[in-house]
């Protein structure tokens, strides 16, 4: 177990380093001058040279990369003399636009993204699991066929369409609520739910469809196992057979998917956040794109990779915990 963890952690560190190097290379090899970006619009050539020096852009690429990676862990001091700024522990540099530390910017936006992802996950699990289970237990009936056709249709719905249609119908035509704006959970839990419900539905629908199909296949497969037949032969009621013997092993692949999907969404659901103007990491990313704010784009890329790679590990650990057959060695 310890050996496994150690190996996986090393693997994670390696993968993150590769991603970091690639991101770094992409940004600093391609023809866009960070110094000119940082300096702003009306900037003289002399000043750009000075900024280049201050930002250390004249050093070889490998030195710059080393400084960036070291800086994340040890912090770094930018500039010199009276202009020196120290940027503490998780130092991802400063935004070209606002001049704020990238880490603070991301930390500021994380609650909104997490709220969106977690709430949507609850919703899609409820919808997807119940639809999938229903479909599997009523296999080859009209219920099953209807659910399966519906899932294909729903999975093909573009998020833009769902989001705009919900906004148009609920907000504009029916006037059930004002245009949603993010309210922190700590401030007003009811307002938090009311304002996030539309984004949750938007994000959850596609996932619910995929999870329903997966749950159906998985349950059908498990219900054909010999131990389910044994449970039935013992004279257990069907409800108990499904609940205790069928469902638990059938849900392991769902748990795996859930971990990976959540990992991908924690660093921001780019499009959903943009459509609803939710102040999440994804919106920050989209905004930084439009302003070519490289340090922020890079920081978020790394944060997202971190979430994805870590969630893979968490999934493996949870998997070993639910399914005794998958002991880790």
């Amino acid at each position: 177990m310890t050996g496994f963890l150690l190996r996986r952690l090393l693997g994670i560190a390696g993968t993150l380093l590769v991603i970091c190097a690639l991101t770094f290379a992409v940004f600093y090899l391609l023809p866009s001058d960070p110094a000119a970006q940082f300096c702003g619009k009306d900037c003289s050539a002399d000043r750009i040279v000075m900024v280049r020096q201050q930002m250390g852009l004249d050093d070889p690429l490998i030195v710059q990369f080393g400084r960036y990676v070291l800086g994340i862990f040890a912090g770094q001091t930018l500039g010199s003399g009276q202009y020196a700024v120290h940027c503490g522990f998780p130092c991802f540099g400063y935004s070209f636009q606002s001049g704020q530390p990238v880490w603070d910017l991301m930390l500021d936006r994380l609650p909104a993204s997490a709220s969106l992802a977690l709430g949507a996950a609850v919703l899609w699990l409820l919808l997807g699991l119940s639809a999938g289970l229903l479909s599997a237990l009523r296999r080859n009936t009209w219920v099953d066929r209807t659910v399966m056709v519906a899932t294909i249709g729903i999975a093909a719905l573009p998020v833009y369409f769902t989001a705009m249609l919900l906004l148009y119908v609920v907000v504009t035509v029916l006037g059930l609520m004002p245009y949603p704006r993010y309210i922190a959970f700590g401030e007003d839990p009811v307002g938090w739910i009311r304002n996030l419900i539309l984004p949750w539905i938007t994000l959850a629908l596609t996932f619910a469809a995929i999870y329903a199909r997966m749950t159906r296949n998985s349950v059908i497969e498990t219900m054909a196992e010999p131990y389910v037949r044994t449970a039935r032969a013992k004279g257990l009621r069907e409800r108990r057979v499904v609940g205790r013997h069928g469902l638990r092993p059938a849900l392991t692949p769902v748990a795996t998917m859930l971990g990976m999907d959540l990992g991908g969404l924690l660093a921001g659901a780019l499009i959903t956040e943009s459509l609803f103007s939710l102040p999440g990491v994804g919106k920050l990313f989209a905004d930084s794109l439009n302003k070519a704010d490289q340090p922020v784009i890079m920081g978020i890329t790394l944060l997202a990779s971190f979430f994805i790679v870590t969630s893979n590990l968490v999934v493996d650990l949870v998997y070993a915990w639910i399914d005794p057959r998958a002991r880790l060695t």
Binding site: L22, S32, I152, Y160, L270, I271, L289, T301, A304
Partner: protein
């Protein structure tokens, strides 16, 4: 399309044993056999596919969009408005540039209405948008197939260190936050042909999934008797891969590529929506959707139309892929 008056199926006049022998010895005659045998895999698959109405519906929708995209110049000539033509008379400058008339300005002049502000014809822009969408998705699908099959088959066939290196590479690629990385990549490259760049980026991040499936299939194929036989005859590895392994992979490849296309279309639209994909003035669905978000209240038709196109084409490829999987993949698609 109907079969010539030869009898079908088992009563084809060829004894079963002969077919088996022929199959075991097939090396050069594969192509000929596929073309002549009454129950070739391709024809069997087509027969199974033809029985499914959803698959035909999917195929029909795809054909419709492909035709629409190909005939875009002709159709816009008939409707009388090009994709870049602005029509100030169709929008009401007193209403903030909203289209005149109901349903987003649908009229005999503009069949599907006009865009707010500039008054560009939506019908024409949808047609030309379909071109970009299909072009990018199909080219990227081709790229994915080429890279995925080449690497997957190589890894599966040669095994050993080659396999380790390629598999590791696939693992790293798959743990990438690909959408975010694609965006980062697209956002820094400025003066490049956007369509080519999109195809390249989509291809670069899409191949590991198909490569993994192909590798698994190749692993199970490489010790079959006919492969061993070919090897015993002194056939080179490259030739074995091409003539013995590849034809057996065809079904799987077709299924996975068809199922990958909706994802590619969706990703292209998402990237363009976020402003890093196809750039204006090139008309594209993602761009139209992104513009229409501002007008969702006043001109709902403007977001409904491109979204509906996107929905239909994604749905069509999914339905077709699903049916193809049932028709071509006897295992029922357990990946």
């Amino acid at each position: 399309m109907n079969a010539p008056p030869t009898p079908r199926g088992r009563s084809a006049g060829r004894p079963a044993a002969a077919i088996e022998v022929a199959e075991a010895a097939e090396a050069t005659a594969t192509e000929a056999a596929v073309a002549e045998a009454p129950a070739s895999p391709a024809r069997l698959a087509w027969q199974r596919l033809r029985r499914r109405r959803v698959a035909l519906a999917g195929l029909g929708i795809i054909a419709f969009f492909v035709l629409a995209a190909l005939l875009a110049p002709v159709l816009t000539a008939i409707s009388g408005h090009g994709p870049a033509d602005t029509d100030k008379r169709a929008v009401d400058s007193y209403l903030g540039g909203l289209p005149r008339g109901s349903l987003g300005g649908m009229s005999t002049q503009h069949w599907l209405g006009v865009e707010p502000m500039l008054g560009r014809d939506i019908f024409a822009r949808l047609l030309y948008g379909a071109r970009i969408s299909l072009l990018v998705a199909l080219c990227a699908a081709l790229l994915i197939t080429l890279i995925g099959v080449a690497l997957g088959a190589t890894a599966g066939y040669f095994g050993g260190r080659t396999d380790t290196v390629i598999s590791r590479f696939m693992d790293v690629m798959m743990s990438f936050p690909s959408l975010i990385f694609m965006i980062a990549l697209l956002s820094v490259a400025r003066d490049v042909n956007r369509v080519l760049l999109l195809i390249g980026v989509l291809g670069a991040f899409g191949w590991p999934y198909i490569a993994r499936v192909v590798r698994g299939q190749t692993l199970s194929l490489r010790h079959r008797e006919y492969v061993e036989a070919a090897r015993a005859c002194g056939t080179s590895s490259g030739r074995i891969l091409l003539t013995e392994i590849l034809p057996n992979l065809a079904g799987t490849i077709i299924v996975y590529v068809t199922l990958a296309i909706p994802g590619l279309i969706g990703t292209e639209a998402a990237l363009t929506f976020l402003g890093v994909g196809v750039r204006p003035p090139t008309p594209s669905w993602g761009q139209m959707i992104s513009d229409s978000v501002l007008y969702y209240k006043a001109d709902p038709m403007f977001f409904v139309l491109p979204s509906a196109c996107l929905f239909l084409i994604v749905l069509a490829f999914t339905l077709l892929g699903d049916a193809l999987r049932d028709a071509l993949d006897p295992k029922g698609g357990a990946a």
